[in-house]
């Protein structure tokens, strides 16, 4: 037996369970109360670039040039030892020293809905509980309830909510970057004065009903309305307006909804938002994989690269975790429609900034990109890594309504070699 390795693992486990034990008696304590006990965070915020539909790992971050499974794309050398990327990701290749790749991702969920749930929450779906997404945990544990902007914003897709932590910790959804969020502007014919008149009239209604019922829900609604009005009038609402960005900056992110989404994400992070998801949809390439994937990389590459540059030049990259992944990989075998099908067995996640050691390639797949060579990395491990960097203890639990303690991740352990 390798004593040193065994000893280290044991120590880690003991350390975790001792910490866990200390928390047990405090399961019922309110959210936030335990924040002081969490390990020191390197990241203040997270931007998740969500590649919806499941990108081919082989066509993107784990190329297999010269193999039958490799497809037509060439591989290019990235600025990091042993890191090759698809030729359609040249800008990211140039920033390879900033990026860490986990090429040993592996899961059992090959169905879109289940896999999306799994990768967002770290738990396989189970009808008895709705697990919070990492964004939901971040909002509940690290968000400032008095901030002008919501702590969790999703751009271009609905993301996943906060499950049993409550809808108030779910994402604020921006349908499309480059326009204001839905319903923050007054409807036509209503100016500020008329709006205030309406609110005064509403106050009369609320006062009467609160007196009549004495119910706490009336006050709860008032607080939600106050937050909504605060957002309508928030100076930081300018985060959603890209008009102030230079032509050069906008061009760097690329002329795509996704690129604009990444730019809005940077503006949100600058203004204190904790978790932003930006969705790039269309990776479910059962047909015509190469044409579609190269086009999608045409949007992904400049946006991801510009986000890293932009955060870096503003001194925000070290405190902003950027993650890029989809719900699974795609088959090494190229099907009859020039497509690739679902492949959860082996895929890649990319991480950067926020306490991530750049230039690292963690794990590998076999020559055909079919199976993980060596130990596989589970989704809970990936989320435990992200959570730990954000200052969320992966073992921290909250009670569900049926009295089950649910931890931030389903038993995952942080991937230490990725962390600074």
């Amino acid at each position: 037996m390798d004593h040193s390795a065994f000893g280290r693992r044991t120590m880690l486990r003991l350390g975790t369970s001792a910490f866990f034990g200390a928390l047990v008696g405090r399961w019922l304590s309110p959210l936030h109360a335990l924040a002081a006990d969490a390990p020191p965070a390197r990241a203040q915020a997270c931007v998740l670039l969500w590649l919806n539909g499941g990108p081919s790992h082989i066509d993107t971050f784990d190329p297999k040039p010269g193999r039958a499974t490799g497809g037509p794309f060439k591989a290019i050398r990235a600025r990091a030892p042993g890191m090759m990327l698809s030729e359609h990701l040249p800008q990211l290749a140039d920033r390879g020293d900033k990026i860490a790749l986990v090429r040993s991702m592996s899961s059992k969920e090959g169905n879109h809905a289940r896999a999306q749930y799994f990768v967002h929450t770290g738990y396989a779906p189970n009808p008895t509980v709705v697990h919070p997404s990492l964004g939901g945990w971040t909002c509940a544990r690290l968000g400032d309830p008095h901030a002008e902007l919501p702590a969790f914003v999703s751009i271009g897709g609905p993301s996943f909510g906060a499950g049993f932590l409550g809808v108030q910790n779910g994402p604020f959804v921006l349908a499309r970057a480059g326009a204001p969020p839905a319903d923050v502007a007054l409807p036509p014919g209503v100016d500020r004065a008329r709006f205030e008149r309406r609110r005064a009239a509403l106050d009369v209604m609320e006062d009467r009903f609160a007196r009549a019922t004495g119910d706490a829900k009336v006050e709860g609604r008032r607080q939600v309305y106050a937050k909504a009005v605060r957002l309508m009038q928030a100076p930081k609402l300018d985060a959603f307006d890209l008009g102030g960005e230079s032509e050069a900056t906008r061009r760097a992110y690329g002329d795509s909804d996704f690129g604009r989404g990444c730019l809005v994400a940077r503006r949100l992070v600058e203004r204190g938002v904790k978790f932003v998801e930006v969705v790039l949809d269309g990776w479910d390439t059962h047909q015509n994989d190469f044409e579609r994937t190269s086009k999608l990389m045409g949007a992904l590459d400049p946006a991801f690269a510009a986000l890293l540059d932009d955060l870096g030049s503003r001194g925000l990259l070290a405190s902003t975790l950027v993650a890029c992944m989809g719900e699974f990989g795609r088959t090494p075998r190229i099907n009859g429609n020039d497509g690739r099908d679902h492949w959860p067995q082996a895929w890649t996640a990319a991480l950067a900034g926020g306490g991530i050691r750049g230039g690292v390639v963690h794990g590998a797949t076999d020559d055909d990109g079919a199976k993980v060579a060596g130990p596989a990395t589970g989704v809970p491990d990936l989320l435990a890594t992200m959570g730990t960097l954000l200052g969320l203890d992966p073992a921290h639990t909250e009670m569900t309504p049926v009295g089950r303690p649910i931890a931030v991740t389903d038993g995952g352990a942080p991937i230490r070699p990725l962390m600074l």
């Binding site: 897709g157 969020p181 036509p188 609320e206 829900k217």
Partner: protein, 612 residues
């Protein structure tokens, strides 16, 4: 409970706008109404009445030393009952007729009318479609419309609950007539279910990729047992083991589908025939996580062997619906009580376990036994619950209680305030504003499309947890914004052709009766003298101030939402965008604006948005 609701992330509300599209209120039936399909309680003298429930609860109150609140007034009770039984607010004429009625039995007669209303089946179709299918039922073989048509037919006929469940669990046959994928049929509730189709099979089809979830959902929704907690490891506090879960789930893997449509028609339902097998489907035996389930011997939760003879699915249905089953009747009664009273005897409603005991167990036991004795007559159970004293109580706590008051009113000595669900909120908004008539009057929009898209939007936004028992209101900023500035309220509160406000302003006479008409329509009650004076003055002041009319500002360009994502939950586009601007472009009129402002305040009020 929140997690259940959210997981079943409700495909919203197919009947939501259907009700209002039927023109005149369909429930206004000539009196006396004799419900067609429910045998009258008198014919079954052994069955419970609401008075039996009252006696048992009063004993509980006495024991605990709590005092009930006074009865809610007629208007409050009627609104409550309409929302809970029919999923919408009562039309103005129903409210006025009810308030004018001086007879002692008017509440009982109102319940009979509601039970006989076509809205009854609309509402419970939406409820169970949500509970069983959730929002993510999007497999190409799943015909959601056919599933709903099956549910609708079952509730319209008041099919025994045991029969509904048996049909659900044992369904075989054709899933659909094909055609485009729909969330609901346009003619739902007005046409019989499609010929030759067994809509119930779509539930099994929804779980083709994960039959273990079908077992978990069945156990939770039909029995109130959270057996799937034991999927990954033995249950921590209860007796369930992983083996128990696998053996139970083994009863859910014995089907296969025979494809009837070659190829993969995009956007169309793939017709399949669901067949039952006498052994586990081979495809499950090959999947690593399902193999232990496929290998297990199908066994009920009490150890009953389900594979002894004949069909395992039939044996499962027989075991679940047997009067001796300790969970079946209790789970449904508890769920219904929770729906009507805002909290189950057992809370959360789907979590019946020894370590989570009920309050007022005698009442739950009696109702459960009675439900079984009634032949699982859903309408009978609802009549007993809605007729009970608890359901009639005020939501306001006793002002100067000399007895101790439980802030949570756990023994149902006070009515619990709950937020309207997405379906109810949208139904109520449409009923209050005549939004459907506004859309129809534009003549340029497909009403069915608009209805569908508004429903999607509201389902997405207002997916509140109706079964949550939190005392606090959990809302999102997006919900607040949608009511403050969103198109449904902005359009609905406008003076537009066809709108409720246009009707009200066209009434002859003074302001007071107009304010009264708005109150009856929106809040289902008459305004107090003070309220009437206040709003009359509000209108008069605005009028004399003159230019309340501000120059209309065009709504800033809003985002066209991204197209639907794979998980089908993208925020759908807003079909009403721009419609409200038509009002703003009309001649600004201080008086009209003041009325719009009053209506806006009523629609945004907690009194409107909460069930009380």
């Amino acid at each position: 409970m929140r997690n259940m609701r959210a997981l079943a992330l409700v495909a919203v509300v197919a009947a939501a706008l259907a009700a209002c599209d039927r023109g005149a209120p369909p429930h206004v039936a000539p009196r006396p109404v004799v419900p067609a399909t429910v045998a009258s309680a008198a014919a079954r003298p052994a069955l419970m009445t609401s008075a039996d429930v009252d006696a048992r609860l009063q004993a509980e109150w006495q024991k605990a030393g709590v005092a009930p609140t006074p009865r809610a007034d007629d208007a409050t009770w009627l609104r409550r009952a309409w929302l809970d039984l029919l999923g919408t607010i009562p039309p103005a004429e129903v409210t006025l007729r009810f308030l004018a009625d001086r007879s002692a039995d008017k509440r009982a007669r109102a319940v009979d009318e509601m039970l006989a209303s076509p809205l009854w089946a609309d509402h419970w179709t939406a409820y169970w479609d949500d509970a069983w299918m959730g929002r993510d039922a999007r497999a190409p073989e799943v015909d959601r419309g056919a599933f709903r048509a099956w549910l609708h037919d079952a509730f319209a006929r008041n099919l025994a609950w045991s029969d509904v469940v048996t049909q659900l669990l044992t369904a075989t046959g054709l899933n659909s007539q094909g055609g485009p994928q729909r969330v609901a049929y346009a003619d739902e509730g007005t046409a019989p279910p499609p010929e030759g189709v067994n809509g119930a099979v779509n539930w099994t089809l929804r779980y083709q990729a994960a039959p273990q979830d079908m077992a978990g959902t069945a156990s939770r929704t039909l029995l109130g047992v959270q057996i799937q907690c034991a999927q990954c490891h033995d249950h921590k506090t209860e007796k369930w083991t992983q083996k128990d879960f696998q053996s139970f789930a083994a009863a859910f893997v014995r089907t296969r589908l025979v494809p009837l449509d070659p190829g993969k028609p995009m956007g169309a339902v793939k017709r399949v025939s669901l067949r039952e097998l006498d052994r586990p489907a081979p495809r499950y035996s090959k999947m690593a996580d399902l193999e232990p389930i496929a290998k297990a011997s199908p066994t009920a939760l009490d150890g009953t062997d389900l594979a002894r003879d004949g069909s395992v699915r039939v044996a499962l249905a027989r075991w679940i619906t047997a009067p001796e089953n300790p969970w079946f009747s209790r789970a449904f009664v508890n769920r219904m009580w929770g729906h009507f009273l805002g909290r189950g005897f057992v809370d959360p409603v789907d979590d019946l376990r020894p370590s989570n005991p009920p309050v007022a167990p005698a009442v739950l036991d009696a109702l459960a036994a009675d439900f079984a004795a009634s032949g699982y007559d859903v309408k009978h159970l609802v009549r007993v619950i809605v007729g009970s004293e608890s359901y009639a109580l005020s939501a306001a706590p006793l002002a100067d209680a000399t007895v101790k008051a439980d802030a949570e009113a756990k023994l149902f000595e006070r009515f619990r305030v709950t937020p309207l669900g997405p379906e109810e909120l949208l139904n109520a908004l449409v009923a209050a504003t005549k939004l459907d008539a506004i859309v129809r009057a534009t003549g340029r929009m497909d009403l069915a499309q608009v209805r569908f898209r508004v429903k999607q939007r509201y389902g997405f936004l207002f997916d509140v947890d109706e079964e949550s028992d939190d005392g606090d209101y959990e809302g999102t900023i997006a919900q607040g914004l949608a009511l403050l500035n969103g198109t449904v309220v902005a359009t609905g509160a406008s003076v537009l052709p066809g709108s409720a406000l246009t009707d009200v302003l066209a009434m002859p006479g003074e302001d007071a009766p107009k304010i009264e008409a708005l109150y009856v329509r929106v809040l289902s009650r008459l305004p107090s003298a003070e309220e009437s004076d206040r709003w009359t003055k509000f209108v008069a002041d605005a009028e004399s101030a003159g230019s309340a009319g501000t120059l209309p500002s065009p709504r800033p360009a809003q985002a066209r939402p991204a197209k639907r994502t794979k998980n089908g939950k993208a925020q759908p586009p807003d079909p009403l965008l721009g419609l409200e601007g038509r009002a703003a472009n009309q001649r600004a009129d201080a008086r009209v604006h003041a009325y719009e402002d009053v209506l806006w305040a009523l629609l945004n009020s907690s009194e409107f948005v909460l069930n009380h």
